[in-house]
């Protein structure tokens, strides 16, 4: 533990021997396969669906199932599988000959072509097309596996074990309520685990904060935890969670839910933004700090924000050079830039260059053009609340410039029915606000469950909350609270997409990685077909319908459509997410219920 808090931890776990395309590689049992491979320079984990582009991983989050890799006999998300001795990882580097011939038919636009008026030709073409998508085969190997379904009851279920979720869980359990924490990560702690800088506004150090809350949680008999378990959403009859590790589907029974799922760092949109070596901001911190993996010598951070500065500083500390770029100049941040490294502002276009992974980056800006040698690129321009579950729940989401699509909630952190939210998912910046929101959500949930005595406490906390919101200049929250009290949703206004780094629609700038949908595809749908509702753009292209269920592409797609059509993002809207928000194998569902 101590070692860990000092931030000088070595790579942990047992040394194991794994095989990548026949080559023997050393890995650690505590590391996901994707990371072990990356650290040894094996960056390609698979090929994309339509265009057979090389793909690695963007984040370590198990819900971002962009690429499946063949490990042993199975196609899995290599970020979810930990290294084990003797594991075989296979990547097929050959591109089927016909893909090149048929690539015009295979790109995102093939469906729209009128090329097939001849019925016989069409029959031949469709036979080719259905065989050509690069999808794994479903095979018999799983027949030996059995899954199970288990019911778990608790008073309150907390989804997400970061600062907000843990605070909420502890507060709830102090009131004598049984609490279940569900977290998809291998350990509780969320961002506190890997962001080594202190939490803004919190008077104690990060180490202390983390240790304190974890000790409280682990010694509390009222709290149970399920880690490596993904909350899969609310079916009409049951809320559910799924653990791949345990081959278990949990049917949850609870009187209240606190959703504290944090934020999603959106991918930035630039040329070749899909190739290996481009990561989400939090994943980079996780890899550098928590896993202590050497990612390279030089990095490019896209986006200039407080968050980017934290990342830059931590990369620097671990000996990585940093160049920061953004499309606009933010004065408030300008001051402390020199500390962290070079900075290029007024960037118009970014292009990642490299055959199989990022090797260089071309930056076009107002004053010319730069060509940088970089080992990896960090997407840190924008994070949106992780709204997948809330979207599935049909809660109202409004667009707030600079914050993203935010679920409408009141100051009691109440969303709807018996559901409460706290932390990043409510749009608040990573800070003491998450802690206070955790407390408020917990108290409100307890109140709803009958603990009427907490009322004065809630009012007190809300006063404190309002003061902190003012102090931290989070004014937009008032609009959210206001909206929670009326049926009408106030309009937002058009803003330039913070993740956009291309000058015009490009065939190599991707919005959706699962389905290989590019900015050019979207632009054609908007301009040629005239579709500007995201629901219709989705139906015309398949954006938001891939394995990640829109987690990575939905907000980017909405903002890009809004940019192209000059509409306010709330007019473009999002698409409805549906249960399960992360896929569940059939053998588990068919496995039957156990007591």
């Amino acid at each position: 533990m101590d070692n860990f808090f000092n931030g000088i931890r070595d790579r942990q776990g047992e040394k194991v021997s794994i095989f990548y395309c026949g080559r023997n590689i050393e890995g650690y049992s505590s590391e996901p396969v994707s990371l072990a491979l990356y650290s040894k320079g094996y960056k390609v984990l698979g090929r994309s669906k339509k265009l057979y582009r090389f793909r690695g991983f963007y984040s370590l989050d198990p819900q971002d199932r962009i690429v499946l890799t063949k490990i042993g006999d199975e196609y899995v998300n290599a970020c979810e599988i930990y290294c084990q001795d003797g594991q075989n990882i296979e990547v097929d580097f050959s591109t089927p000959f016909l893909v090149k011939v048929f690539s015009p038919l295979l790109d995102g636009y093939f469906q729209h072509r009128r090329f097939v008026k001849n019925r016989i030709l069409w029959r031949l073409a469709v036979d080719k097309i259905k065989q050509m998508a690069n999808h794994p085969e479903v095979r018999h190997i799983e027949a030996r596996k059995t899954g199970r379904i288990i019911r778990v009851a608790s008073d309150i279920v907390v989804v997400g074990g970061g600062l907000a979720g843990l605070t909420a869980a502890y507060t709830v359990s102090q009131l004598g309520l049984k609490t279940l924490i569900i977290d998809k990560s291998i350990e509780l702690g969320g961002r506190l685990r890997y962001d080594y800088m202190d939490v803004p506004g919190v008077p104690v150090s990060r180490e202390y904060l983390l240790e304190d809350i974890l000790t409280k949680i682990s010694s509390d008999g009222n709290i149970k935890t399920l880690t490596r378990t993904i909350f899969t959403g609310f079916f009409e009859d049951y809320p559910t969670a799924y653990s791949q590790e345990e081959r278990t589907l949990y049917i949850l029974k609870a009187k209240g839910f606190i959703i504290a799922t944090g934020v999603v760092d959106l991918p930035c949109i630039f040329r070749n933004n899909d190739i290996p070596g481009i990561f989400s901001a939090s994943t980079v911190l996780e890899m550098v700090n928590r896993y202590r993996v050497k990612l390279g010598e030089k990095s490019l951070i896209i986006g200039l924000s407080q968050n980017s500065l934290r990342i830059a500083e931590q990369l620097k500390r671990s000996g990585i050079d940093v160049v920061m770029v953004d499309n606009s100049r933010s004065q408030s941040i300008q001051s402390d830039l020199s500390r962290v490294g070079e900075c290029i502002v007024n960037v118009r276009e970014i292009e990642a260059v490299g055959r199989k992974c990022v090797e260089k980056a071309n930056i076009i800006h107002d004053d010319g053009r730069d060509r940088l040698e970089v080992d990896f690129i960090v997407c840190s321009a924008f994070s949106n609340p992780d709204i997948l579950i809330l979207n599935q729940l049909d809660s109202r989401l409004i667009y707030i410039g600079g914050v993203g699509f935010v679920p409408v909630h009141d100051e009691y952190m109440h969303l709807k029915d018996n559901i409460f939210i706290a932390g990043g998912v409510s749009g608040s910046p990573y800070s003491i606000l998450h802690l206070i929101e955790g407390e408020i959500a917990a108290l409100s949930a307890a109140y709803k469950l009958g603990a009427k005595e907490v009322e004065p406490l809630i009012e007190e906390k809300i006063k404190e909350y309002r003061t902190k919101l003012n102090e931290m200049n989070v004014k937009w929250k008032n609009k959210v609270f206001r909206n929670s009290r009326s049926e009408l949703i106030e309009n937002s206004s058009f803003t330039y997409p913070p993740t956009l780094f291309i000058e015009r629609p490009r065939r190599d700038a991707f919005i959706c990685f699962c389905e290989d949908i590019t900015t050019e595809d979207i632009s054609r749908t908007v301009h040629e077909k005239g579709y500007t509702l995201l629901e219709l753009v989705k139906r015309s292209l398949g954006v938001c319908t891939g394995r990640c269920q829109g987690r990575l592409c939905m907000v980017n797609a909405a903002l890009y459509v809004s940019y192209l059509s000059n509409l306010d993002p709330s007019q473009v809207g999002l698409t409805k997410a549906r249960a399960p928000v992360t896929s569940i194998p059939l053998y588990i569902l068919a496995g039957g219920e156990e007591e």
């Binding site: 009128r114 008026k117 097309i129 259905k130 999808h135 379904i149 077909k529 139906r539 059939l586």
Partner: protein
């Protein structure tokens, strides 16, 4: 003449297009949400020509022909693919019934193939046939892309001058002297001469306001979809034992559903875990290799059931002049809509009832000339 089509699903789009092609006058289409909001893009996107009744089989054959012809004109490729339907049969009675009906299908030129368990295994090695007695395979049946078919009609209709009003619910129809007169929207009234209700599951709400009752009711149906896999299932497989069906989309996802008790009515379009589990059990038993597949999404839509499981199109003579309906497809409407649009447009403009349309008139309920379709899937 001012014609209002209410409902922007495949039926409304097809009717609007067919009216516009015939220069019917000023055509408006009203949709309460966005085009394709209703069942049309929540369907299984399959078509078949095999129904128990000759009326439905005939109608479907002609309807698919219409769509194929139109495909060349559309800006969107409807992705029609004849992968076939295969009904797995579990008892003599089922086999008898298919053999019996097979005569009618042969007469219509859409004969299928009967398969012994061994033959099923040979053709579709992934199907577990341990408890299967035989199968009927219909090679003329297949799939289409429901979004692109709708968009195809939409863009054709738009080019021909149909005026679209999205996000415009119609709340009521004003009748004066037993004639349709006006439509009520949130922003006021619109004068009309003809009103066509293509409002799918929501039709009764409007009909009842003007005192018309037809024996139809919406029933929610749920669907499961897996992540995409390499293509290996060509036909739609209907398990007549468990009531489950399963197929694979050209994108690679496995799509299916199973009969699951649901109270009728416009209940919320949500899905149940119990339903998913039932489907998972049935389908992994039938296709064991699917155990590995992962369910990625579920959704629900409404089947608009009529008492004889067949659609209703046209009008009754006593109804207010200018009022027409086209709905009540009972779960197989997408494939019928291309022809429904064509025949209804003709009927509206000429007053004549085309022969193929006659059995489907709403008057059949009063006259007791029900169609008795029993081959409903899902």
């Amino acid at each position: 003449m001012r014609i209002a089509v209410i409902g922007g699903g495949i039926t409304g789009l097809s009717i609007a297009y067919n009216l516009a092609v015939r220069d019917a006058g000023e055509i408006h289409l009203f949709e309460k949400n966005w085009i394709t909001y209703g069942s049309s893009t929540r369907s299984g996107a399959r078509f078949r020509v095999h129904f128990w009744t000759e009326e439905n089989s005939r109608f479907a054959i002609e309807s698919i022909k219409r769509l194929e012809k139109l495909a060349g004109k559309m800006e969107w490729n409807p992705i029609i693919y004849r992968g076939g339907y295969i009904w797995l049969l579990f008892n003599e009675h089922q086999i008898e019934r298919f053999k019996e009906t097979s005569k009618m299908w042969s007469k219509l030129g859409v004969q299928g193939v009967f398969l012994e368990p061994e033959e099923i295994r040979e053709r579709y090695s992934y199907i577990n046939v341990d408890d299967v007695l035989g199968a009927f395979y219909g090679p003329q049946d297949g799939s289409l892309h429901h979004d692109y078919v709708c968009f195809g009609y939409y863009s054709l209709a738009k080019k021909l001058g149909v005026i679209f009003h999205e996000l415009t619910p119609i709340n009521d129809i004003n009748i004066v002297d037993n004639k349709v007169k006006q439509l009520k929207t949130l922003n006021g009234v619109v004068d009309v001469d003809v009103v066509v209700l293509a409002t799918g599951a929501w039709t009764n709400e409007l009909l009842e306001k003007i005192g018309i009752r037809l024996s139809t009711e919406p029933v929610r149906k749920e669907v499961c979809l897996t992540e995409p896999y390499h293509h290996f299932i060509d036909p739609l497989i209907i398990d007549m034992g468990s009531g489950a069906y399963v197929g694979q989309t050209l994108k690679g996802e496995i799509l299916g559903s199973i009969d699951y008790p649901t109270p009728p009515g416009l209940i919320k379009l949500e899905t149940r875990l119990e339903f998913v589990i039932k489907w998972a059990k049935a389908i992994t038993k039938r296709i064991p290799s699917l155990k590995n597949a992962r369910i990625m999404r579920t959704w629900a839509g409404y089947y608009m059931m009529s008492t004889d499981n067949s659609h209703i199109m046209g009008r009754e003579p006593e109804w207010p002049e200018g009022l027409y309906v086209a709905y009540g497809y009972s779960g197989h409407g997408f494939m019928m809509a291309p022809l429904v649009g064509e025949l209804l447009a003709e009927n509206i403009l000429t007053g004549k009832t085309p022969e193929l349309m006659r059995p489907f008139l709403p008057t059949r309920f009063k006259e007791n000339k029900l169609i008795q379709e029993k081959l409903v899937i899902g």
